[in-house]
Symmetry: C2
């Protein structure tokens, strides 16, 4: 582990996994709209949202992506590592009240470059709502 309790690249093995789960609330959606500036009526206007294919307001896709960021930054590989990239495929809507579980799993290690690639998925009641992959730069026990 590094000085802030994150994993050094030498600590990681393919298949290691961690999860972070959070219930997405109406407050989260309103705050995310303010922070991001994304005020699309699909997120904020129930009367409009009822007329869409989703039948009501949905959370911002990038809000669920934030939970992937949390799983990576807090747990695996954790503090001290640097976020280099992320791919995201939005598969299904998330609504206020849904509990989203973000799971990250080590898929590939490039030890000499201190890089790790992780599969990243968000689920609600076991259903995939978001998937993709993350690339992180880790600390090294060798400095």
């Amino acid at each position: 582990m590094n000085s802030v309790n994150g994993y050094d690249i030498e600590d990681l093995k393919v298949g290691m996994s961690a999860s972070f789960a959070k219930t997405v609330t109406e407050a989260d959606i309103v705050l995310f709209a303010g922070v991001s500036g994304d005020v699309n009526p699909a997120h904020l206007n129930e009367e409009y949202a009822k007329t869409t294919m989703f039948g009501g307001r949905i959370a911002h896709g990038m809000l669920s992506a934030g939970l992937i960021s949390a799983a990576l930054a807090n747990k695996l590989p954790g503090p001290g590592t640097i976020y280099l990239g992320q791919t995201l495929k939005f598969k299904a809507p998330v609504r206020a009240g849904d509990t989203v579980t973000a799971t990250v799993t080590v898929r590939e290690l490039v030890v000499e470059k201190k890089r790790v690639v992780l599969d990243t998925v968000c689920t609600v009641c076991g259903k995939v709502v978001l998937e993709g992959e993350a690339t992180m730069m880790c600390t090294s026990a060798k400095g």
Copy 2:
């Protein structure tokens, strides 16, 4: 345009572009930590962050990604369209006080599938801090 002032797929042309800019504040970073659950000390702990390569606290990368979401959802292609996917490469840190400009530019149209691919970039004072591409499903004037 569709009924909520977004572009139908038939309205779009390669090269069309739109931007959304927002000053990222300390309040945004604190709120994003709460909404996402990403409480990495690089974002929240100045004493720790001073010891890192960035020399101080930085905003969450996914917060800048939220501004791309805003440019897409509010402007181009705008309301009524559906976010299918996004790639993100984090190139440089964003700090409280930085004004981030997210610019989205139509790169490819697949009219029969109602799909549009856009180049997406975030800059601070002209320097690229985040880049990638978005895939959206649009409405069609043909229903």
